[in-house]
């Protein structure tokens, strides 16, 4: 072997080793990044576990029939969430009845009927902005508009209307997505057969988009159940010894009661608050399961 080829061989060897070292370094970087991302997930899951564990540990001892059927009380052993629970049910049911038709209607209009003009883009922009408004601002609005101006007072109706306004943008946006997922071909086939716009909407679009709309509405309602800030503005922290029997009655809801108990001096109330949280989580879990159940059922049938 002569000098030149020897030199070439040595250089090649050096480059190879460099490349191998770079390669190893790349592998190490990759592993580090994987570990970091994994850590992210683990921290997230650990937080959820911590929250649930804390709530269960503090709350489970307080969770019994007496807790579920009693009024609020200054004595921790006698206090219960009966009133708050039914208040929540009333408000959420009414909110659902109000917000679902309005939200779906708006979404249908925007997707099926609206012309592409400035007014429509303005409405769309509006909706996205409203989705980002803090819930307490809706509380202020509800207080000024429904409680005072329209004189509905601190009633279930005012609460439901306020919550409806709060979740309306979310319902609209989710319903829009559901409506968009209905294939154009289905509509056009119907139009070709002479159907009117409403007939197409009612008989083609809505049935297909319905599961998506429903899931979105139910998730929006879950949010509504857990909202404390606007409800405190509307219903106020108040001792109420009865459950509503009409939409114009006073009320209180689970998050308010929990908030109330967290702020009490006696330490037993922490346990009560945790028990209230467990009830709230149970309600949320059932509503979400309902959403998943409906979603699965419709997906099995339709497609």
């Amino acid at each position: 072997m002569d000098c030149k080829t020897l030199l070439e061989k040595i250089l090649k060897l050096a480059k190879n080793r460099q490349a191998k070292r770079r390669d190893i370094w790349r592998k190490i970087k990759g592993d580090i990044i994987l570990v970091l991302c994994l850590t992210g997930i683990i921290i997230t899951l650990a937080s959820l576990a911590a929250i649930l564990f804390d709530a269960l540990q503090e709350g489970l001892p307080w969770l019994d029939i007496q807790f579920l059927t009693s009024f609020a009380s200054r004595r921790p052993e006698q206090a219960g969430i009966f009133v708050a629970f039914f208040g929540s049910i009333w408000v959420v049911a009414l909110t659902a009845f109000i917000s679902f038709p309005l939200g779906v209607g708006a979404a249908l209009y925007l997707e099926e009927y609206a012309p592409q003009n400035h007014l429509t883009s303005f409405i769309r922009l509006n909706i996205s902005n409203l989705a980002g408004v803090p819930s307490i601002v809706y509380g202020i609005l509800g207080l000024a508009l429904f409680v005072d101006a329209l004189s509905f007072g601190r009633s279930v109706l005012s609460g439901a209307l306020t919550l409806s306004l709060l979740i309306l943008p979310v319902i609209i946006i989710v319903s829009q997505e559901a409506i968009r997922s209905v294939p154009r071909a289905d509509r056009e086939g119907a139009y070709a057969l002479g159907a009117t716009r409403w007939q197409v909407t009612r008989d083609i679009v809505v049935p297909q988009a319905f599961p998506g709309m429903l899931t979105g509405a139910i998730l929006a309602l879950s949010r509504a159940i857990g909202e404390a800030a606007p409800m405190i503005a509307i219903a106020a922290l108040v001792y109420i010894p009865f459950t509503p029997s009409g939409p114009l009655d006073r009320f209180t809801v689970l998050p308010i009661q929990i908030f109330n108990w967290v702020n009490q001096p006696q330490s037993e109330f922490r346990g009560l608050a945790a028990a209230g949280i467990l009830v709230l989580l149970a309600v949320l879990l059932s509503i979400n399961s309902l959403a998943i159940f409906i979603r699965n059922r419709y997906q099995k049938r339709g497609r």
Partner: protein
């Protein structure tokens, strides 16, 4: 339309389930009479306790107790919106005027005493008492007191950490009014909290702390706090049920009131409620942590209920 009928079915079933569940738990909450009560957050625990016990005897009457604050409560009371107003101070002239304008006549009932406790950390060995003057110097708006030896030179050269109620509480208003001179006059750089529990935890964990809050909360936690006797001119007085009751502990004790709309008293349930209130206040007030008045005051209140000609 398969989907349409499924949808109908689901809706119907859901409605039926909801209706059934509701009526199972709420057989006729055709509520009877509501007694509308609002006002001070300080008096609230007392009124709520009364309402609770009252309901056990008269289940068809519903006392509803709100917490809009003494002033907010009066605003409603003077327009006839509420039957009873909880107040942590007596009615102001402007409020008297307002009720006169609206034709609202009322009765005033003193129902309890509320003491304010000044506390420091259990490991605070140097403090024996504080005079009203010293308290004022500590808490006034432009206070120059930052360390313990700024108050008395023989005290430690350590920074004072202050704790107190939030600015929108009656306790804050009262303390600033009687100690500093005018309601709302206070230095802003202290740890504020509506939750007296938090103040307690803060003071208990900080050797150089000093704070004030309702006596009731101190009483519940006396093992982990050190109470500060107050010298208002006649020697240091430690707050206790007796000294508050007798008026010896001054100026940090104040009377609590309820104001009742005369017209509302014509309703039998409201009269029953107020009567029940006075009969049971002595016991309930102590239970909730406040200081009861001498028994004769409650008896006087009951006598005042008898219809005037």
């Amino acid at each position: 339309m398969d989907k349409k009928s499924t949808l109908k079915n689901i809706t119907i079933i859901t409605i039926i389930v909801i209706v059934v569940v509701y009526f199972y738990f709420n057989p006729g909450t055709q509520h009877g009479e509501i007694i509308e009560i609002d006002g001070s957050s300080t008096v609230y625990p007392i009124t709520q306790a009364v309402a609770e016990e009252f309901q056990k005897i008269y289940p068809e009457v519903y006392p509803v107790v709100g917490v809009s604050g003494t002033a907010g409560g009066f605003k409603r009371f003077t327009t006839g919106d509420t039957d009873i107003n909880d107040a942590s101070r007596s009615i102001k002239d402007s409020e008297i005027q307002a009720s006169a304008n609206n034709g609202i006549e009322y009765l005033e009932f003193e129902i309890a005493l509320d003491g304010l406790a000044v506390v420091v950390n259990v490991d605070n060995t140097w403090l024996d008492y504080l005079s009203g003057e010293e308290l004022k110097k500590i808490w006034e708006p432009e206070s120059s007191i930052n360390k313990w030896n700024d108050i008395r030179p023989e005290w430690p050269d350590k920074p004072i950490r202050l704790y107190g109620p939030g600015t929108d509480s009656g306790t804050f208003d009262y303390f600033t009014e009687v100690i500093v001179g005018e309601s709302g006059e206070s230095r802003p750089d202290y740890t504020a909290s509506e939750d007296d529990n938090v103040l307690i935890q803060g003071i208990a964990g900080d050797k150089n702390s000093l704070g004030y809050f309702g006596y009731a909360y101190y009483a519940e936690n006396s093992e982990i706090l050190k109470i500060v006797p107050i010298n208002a001119g006649s020697g240091p007085v430690t707050p206790s049920d007796q000294t508050i009751n007798s008026g010896e502990y001054t100026p940090l004790s104040r009377p609590l009131f309820i104001y009742v709309n005369r017209a509302s008293l014509e309703r039998i349930e409201v009269e029953n409620f107020v009567r029940f209130y006075m009969k049971n206040a002595e016991q309930l007030v102590s239970e909730v942590g406040y200081t009861p008045l001498p028994t004769y005051i409650y008896e006087q209140n009951i006598l005042a209920l008898n219809p005037e000609p």
